[in-house]
C-alpha cells in the first residue's frame, strides 16, 4: 500500500479543507470503512474511484454526517463533523448544530433527489428561504441566476418530472450552490444518466471547478478525473489503497489492485 496522504502537487499548499484520520464505519457486522486517511486542500478537486461496495459513497456521506463514523477523526475546515471537543471528551452535536454545519457543505446525489412537488426554481430556493430565512424575492432572483449558470435559465418553472435526468442533476447542483457552500460533494453524479446526458452535467462541474470550488467527486468518469482532478484516490475494501496526481496514477498504476480495477473500467 502506498502513502495514504494525498501527494501534494506544489509545495506551498493552501489550508486543509477536509481531513480524515483513520476513519472507521460499520453497518452492523459489515465493516465498510477500515481506516480511511485522506486530505483535501482548499480549492482542490479530489476524485474518488474504486469498485462498488468499496466504501467510496459511504466515506462521502460521512463528510456531511449523513452517516456517523465509529472511530477516527473527520474534520472540515478544522471543525470536527458531528461532534464538539471539550477538553479530552467528544460531545455529540444536537440536530440543529449538525444542520448548521451542513450548510457550508453542498451535496449532489446519484439519484438527484430533487423535491418533486416544487418547481426547479423552488428547489433551488428552498434551502436559502427555509434555512437562512432569505427574503423570497431575493432568493428567487438568485435561484434563476444559478439555474442560468448551469444552462437552465429558462426551466425555472418546470417540475422535476418534466425535466430530463441531466437537467434534473444540474438543478440539483444549483440547489446545493444556493447555500453558498465552501465544499461540494458529488456522489456518482452521472451514474444514473443516459450516456448522451452525461456531458452537460460534467460541463457544469468543470465550470464549478474552474471557479475555485473545493470539490470531492465520487465518480466512474476516469476522463473527468484526469482532466479536472487535482488529486485522485482509489478506495478499495474500506481504505485509500492508492492516491496521487490523476495523470500519474492513471498512466502508471503501481498497485496491482488499481491496475486490475482500471483494466475493468477503461
Amino acid at each position: 500500500m502506498s502513502d495514504p496522504q494525498v501527494a501534494p502537487r506544489s509545495t506551498n499548499l493552501p489550508e486543509v479543507m477536509v481531513k480524515a484520520e483513520s476513519v472507521y464505519k460499520a453497518f452492523g457486522r459489515n465493516e465498510v470503512l477500515r481506516g480511511i486517511d485522506f486530505e483535501v486542500h482548499k480549492g482542490q478537486v479530489a476524485c474518488i474511484i474504486g469498485p462498488s461496495g468499496g466504501g467510496k459513497s459511504t466515506f462521502l456521506r460521512c463528510i456531511n454526517h449523513l452517516e456517523k463514523i465509529d472511530a477516527g477523526r473527520l474534520s472540515v475546515e478544522g471543525e470536527l463533523i458531528g461532534y464538539t471537543q471539550r477538553g479530552e471528551k467528544l460531545h455529540e452535536m444536537k440536530d440543529k448544530e449538525v444542520a448548521a454545519q451542513r450548510r457550508s457543505i453542498g451535496m449532489v446525489f446519484q439519484r438527484f433527489n430533487l423535491f418533486p412537488h416544487m418547481t426547479a426554481a423552488q428547489n433551488v430556493m428552498a434551502g436559502p428561504v427555509v434555512v437562512k430565512k432569505t427574503n423570497k424575492g431575493k432568493a428567487q432572483e438568485r435561484a434563476l441566476d444559478l439555474l442560468d449558470t448551469v444552462g437552465l435559465g429558462d426551466r425555472g418553472d418546470s417540475y422535476p418530472m418534466q425535466l430530463s435526468g441531466g437537467q434534473q442533476q444540474r438543478v440539483a447542483i444549483a440547489r446545493a450552490l444556493a447555500m453558498d457552500p465552501d465544499l461540494m460533494l458529488f456522489d456518482e453524479p452521472t451514474s444514473a444518466l443516459d450516456p448522451e446526458l452525461v456531458g452537460d452535467v460534467l460541463d457544469a462541474m468543470k465550470n464549478l471547478a474552474s471557479s475555485g470550488m473545493t470539490m470531492i467527486v465520487v465518480t466512474h468518469e476516469v476522463g473527468f478525473a484526469r482532466e479536472v482532478g487535482d488529486v485522485l484516490a482509489f478506495i478499495d475494501q474500506g481504505i485509500v489503497a492508492d492516491s496521487g496526481p490523476p495523470d500519474e496514477l492513471l498512466s502508471n498504476p503501481t498497485s496491482p489492485r488499481l491496475r486490475e480495477f482500471l483494466g475493468k473500467v477503461l
Binding site: 446525489f109 433527489n113 423535491f115 416544487m118 427555509v130 418530472m161 418534466q162 444556493a178
Partner: protein
C-alpha cells in the same frame, strides 16, 4: 432488405387512420338490461308502497329541527376532523421521533383510542360529567387553585367533540405515519444536506409529498366521520340529525320514513364531500404526474368536441 425506409427529413408520410370493426360486448347489454329491470321494479315499489311515507319525508325534510340537526352534524364533522387531523399529525410525528418518551406516548395513545369502540368512548365522555363533578387546576395532590364544574366545562357538545376527535386522531395518526414512511429516503437526505433540521425537513419536504398518500384515506375518514356523528346518541347529544329524526319518528309513530329521510341527508352530504375530495387529490398530484387528470367539466367538454384553447 430495408423493411421501412425513413422518410427524408421535412417530408411526412401519408397518415392513414385505421378503420376496424370494434369488439362487440353482448354481455354488457344483457347485464344492463337485467339491472334496468330490477331498478324499475324497485322504483315501482317506491312509488306504489305507501309505507315509504314519501309525503311525510317531504313534509319534514326541510323542517327546522332537521335543518338544525344537519347543521350540528356538519359542524361536528368539521371540528372533529380538524381535531383528528391536527392531533393525528402531531402523534404521527411523535411516533416517528427518536425520543423514546414521545414515541411510546404516541404508541399508547393509538393503542387506547383505536383499541376501544368509538360508541363506548362517547358513552364514557358523556359519563365523565357523572364521574368527576369538579375539575381543579393546582399542584398535583396538593392545594387546588381553580375549580370548574364539569357540567359547564364539558357540555354534551364538547364531550361529543372530544370523543369523536380523539378517536379520529388515533386513526389519522396511522394514516399520516404511513404517508410519511412512503416518501423516499433520498428526499430527507437531500433536505438535510442543504442544512434543514428534522422539523423543517418534515414541514417543507416530507409532509407535502406524504399528502398524496394521506389525502385519499382522509377523504374516506371524513365521509366515515359524517356518519359516525350519529353515534353521539351515546353521550347523549340530542341536537344532532339522526337523534332529531328519531324524535320526530317516534312522535309520529313513523320511525321508518324518518330514518329514510336522515339517510337522504347523509347521502347528499357525503356526495358533496366526494366532489371536494376529487379536487383536493388533484391538487396534491402536482409534480407527481406530468399532466393533471381532467376535471369532470373538462371531460364533458372534450366529449362534446369542444377544445380548451390551451
Amino acid at each position: 432488405m430495408a423493411i421501412n425506409e425513413a422518410p427524408p427529413s421535412g417530408e411526412r408520410k401519408e397518415r392513414k387512420a385505421i378503420e376496424a370493426v370494434p369488439v362487440r360486448h353482448p354481455g354488457r347489454w344483457v347485464g344492463a338490461a337485467v339491472i334496468a329491470v330490477l331498478l324499475a321494479m324497485f322504483v315501482n315499489s317506491l312509488v306504489t308502497n305507501p309505507n315509504w311515507g314519501w309525503s311525510l319525508i317531504r313534509e319534514w325534510i326541510f323542517s327546522e329541527p332537521i335543518l338544525k340537526g344537519v347543521g350540528i352534524t356538519i359542524i361536528l364533522t368539521i371540528l372533529a376532523m380538524i381535531i383528528g387531523l391536527v392531533l393525528g399529525v402531531m402523534i404521527a410525528i411523535m411516533r416517528l421521533s427518536p425520543n423514546p418518551v414521545l414515541s411510546s406516548t404516541a404508541w399508547a395513545f393509538v393503542w387506547v383510542f383505536r383499541g376501544t369502540p368509538v360508541y363506548v368512548q362517547l358513552f364514557l365522555w358523556g359519563s365523565v360529567i357523572a364521574l368527576y363533578q369538579n375539575i381543579s387546576l393546582g399542584i398535583p395532590f396538593g392545594p387546588e387553585m381553580i375549580t370548574f364544574d364539569t357540567k359547564t366545562l364539558i357540555p354534551a357538545f364538547v364531550a361529543a367533540l372530544l370523543g369523536l376527535g380523539l378517536n379520529e386522531a388515533a386513526y389519522m395518526s396511522e394514516i399520516v405515519r404511513a404517508g410519511i414512511l412512503s416518501v423516499d429516503e433520498g428526499q430527507e437526505e437531500a433536505a438535510t444536506a442543504v442544512g434543514m433540521t428534522r422539523m423543517q425537513t418534515l414541514r417543507v419536504v416530507v409532509l407535502p409529498q406524504a399528502m398524496r398518500v394521506i389525502v385519499p384515506p382522509t377523504g374516506n375518514e371524513t365521509i366515515s366521520m359524517l356518519k359516525t356523528t350519529s353515534l353521539v346518541i351515546a353521550i347523549p347529544l340530542s341536537t344532532e340529525l339522526f337523534f332529531q329524526a328519531g324524535v320526530i319518528g317516534n312522535r309520529l309513530f313513523q320511525p321508518f320514513p324518518m330514518a329514510i329521510m336522515a339517510s337522504i341527508w347523509y347521502l347528499a352530504l357525503t356526495s358533496v364531500l366526494m366532489v371536494g375530495q376529487y379536487y383536493i387529490e388533484r391538487h396534491y398530484a402536482k409534480g407527481a404526474l406530468r399532466d393533471l387528470p381532467p376535471t369532470p367539466i373538462q371531460k364533458i367538454r372534450s366529449r362534446f368536441g369542444r377544445r380548451d384553447a390551451s
